[in-house]
């Protein structure tokens, strides 16, 4: 039997279309049909300047838009060989980690909702709303921030930023135990995720799974640790690795990562150096001829930005290696032989963002 899930399905969180071949309730094959939100961002970037194309990338993985911008800015800076002021480095890392927290919170609420628990969604949004307000103060936007630009950040922090982040940290610390009480230790949730959607370490490497999906299978793949950028090598935080390889392991990685993000923010919030928030750059940026590749760790995994330059003011070719794309390719392998009801748990713990996959 063949069943279509999506493109309008509440659990696909966007326009993902899966064609599932079933034998009774057992999944035989999952075939993703993509392209419903394909905008050909890579083609668009070819006609935009090195300052402009970054704004389009906020629309890829809209839950990690800061980190997308960050990856592109790093790639342009690598080509131009410019150093950025330490103040902007700290601001960038702070924003990245706040974004990661907001993204994981949304995922946590949405995953629980996919599995039939509605309350966690409101708990998650209570905290996420505070982060969104912080973003709104400083960046002027709540979702597609476009705040990180080549040479630094677009503008200085809002005067209330430090105070509000500290308020948020205080609240978040007092609430984080609720996540475990509500969902992690919930026996129904555990039964629905343990042993579901298993992928081994070898397969995770072969499929290019990164981020919490790879780390849930025991694969060390945190770009912040392996290839540190900005000031990540000076910070104290742990790379979270779980050996389970199932949905529950991926779940635990993300929940424990939230604590690590909080640790990073705590280390930095009182130590933002004074100085410029942007390096002086030319009005028109021109990258030398050649190819440049940078990787950053988004909330979903490894984002690669590959720029081929011909020396002009626009990129000749841009490729975004998006984490969701590779993680999705493993979905078929993960869900074969499982039940159709388990597919939602597997898909939920992959944390797919469809515009990131389609680009």
């Amino acid at each position: 039997m063949i069943i279509n899930v999506g493109p309008q399905h509440p659990s696909t969180h966007g326009v993902l279309h899966l064609v599932i071949t079933l034998n009774g309730e057992t999944v035989k094959k999952v075939e993703p049909h993509l392209g419903y939100i394909h905008r050909s961002i890579e083609k668009m970037c070819e006609s935009l300047s090195y300052r402009q194309f970054i704004y389009v990338t906020s629309r890829m993985d809209y839950l990690s838009s800061h980190i997308n911008n960050h990856g592109c800015a790093l790639c342009v800076e690598k080509g131009l060989q410019i150093e950025i002021p330490s103040r902007s480095q700290v601001i960038r890392v702070l924003m990245d980690e706040l974004t990661r927290l907001a993204s994981h919170l949304l995922w946590w609420g949405a995953l629980a909702m996919d599995l039939g628990a509605f309350t966690p969604f409101f708990y998650a949004f209570r905290e996420r709303e505070m982060i969104n307000e912080l973003m709104e103060d400083t960046c002027g936007a709540r979702l597609t921030m476009n705040y990180i630009v080549p040479g630094g950040v677009m503008m200085d922090l809002h005067p209330d930023f430090q105070r509000k982040v500290k308020e948020f940290l205080k609240l978040f610390q007092s609430k984080i135990h609720e996540y475990d009480e509500l969902v992690t230790n919930n026996i129904i949730f555990q039964n629905r995720t343990k042993g579901v959607g298993f992928i081994s370490r070898e397969d995770a490497i072969s499929f290019g799974c990164t981020g919490p999906t790879g780390r849930g299978s025991g694969l060390s793949c945190d770009i912040r640790k392996l290839y540190p950028y900005e000031i990540y090598d000076q910070l104290q935080f742990d790379e979270i690795i779980e050996q389970g390889g199932d949905s529950f392991a991926r779940y635990k990685v993300r929940v424990r990562e939230m604590v690590q993000s909080m640790r990073i923010i705590e280390q930095l919030i009182d130590n933002i150096p004074e100085g410029d928030f942007q390096a002086k750059t030319k009005a028109v940026l021109k990258l030398p001829k050649g190819d440049f590749y940078t990787r950053v760790e988004t909330a979903r995994g490894e984002l690669g930005v590959y720029i081929v330059s011909e020396g002009g003011s626009t990129p000749y070719r841009i490729k975004f290696r998006s984490p969701g794309f590779s993680n999705l390719s493993a979905l078929d392998h993960m869900s074969r032989g499982g039940k159709i009801g388990d597919l939602m748990a597997t898909m939920g713990t992959l944390d797919l963002v469809i515009p990131d996959i389609d680009r």
Binding site: E42, M44, D203, I205, G208, S220, E302, K319, S329
Partner: protein
């Protein structure tokens, strides 16, 4: 392994390799013929173990196309970039999706947007565009009068 050590090691596998100077990582230019064997060698060699294909894409150079493979090893953490020049009239290259399964989707993407054919790919169909779509959007000579905005 440093860049130079990697070059020496790769030359023991095959003679007369042409390396590209500059760039962050060791970059290798290859011909489509015999690429599959070489790919299997560098994946299975115990000193290289390139088990992670982290980016696979294609570039249109107007006169020709090229495939770009970014490879890394999760054991040794060294990187290698392989570039393969393909003819524009018939861009054909062997698939690598039996070596790195992530290539299955990446190759479908390259087929869809750049029109590169992968020999031996189990399911080579368009990925983003509809099956009846004409032309390959990421090629430089692609024209779409309705949807394309030019600046």
């Amino acid at each position: 392994m440093t860049k130079d050590e990697l070059k020496i090691k790769l030359e023991t596998l095959r003679e007369g390799l042409s390396f590209e100077e500059g760039g962050e990582w060791t970059t290798l230019n290859l011909e489509p013929e015999g690429f599959k064997n070489f790919a299997a060698q560098i994946k299975n060699d115990s000193d290289l173990q390139f088990d992670y294909l982290f980016c696979q894409t294609a570039v249109d150079w107007k006169t020709h196309l090229s495939m770009v493979y970014h490879l890394s090893s999760t054991v040794f953490r060294h990187e290698l970039v392989i570039k393969i020049k393909l003819e524009k009239s018939s861009p054909v290259v062997d698939t690598v999706c039996d070596l790195w399964r992530t290539a299955e989707f990446h190759e479908r993407e390259a087929y869809d947007l750049m029109g590169i054919e992968f020999l031996g790919h189990p399911d080579l169909r368009r990925l983003f565009m509809t099956p009846d779509h004409e032309g390959f959007p990421l090629r430089k000579d692609y024209e779409d009068p309705i949807n394309m905005i030019k600046l």
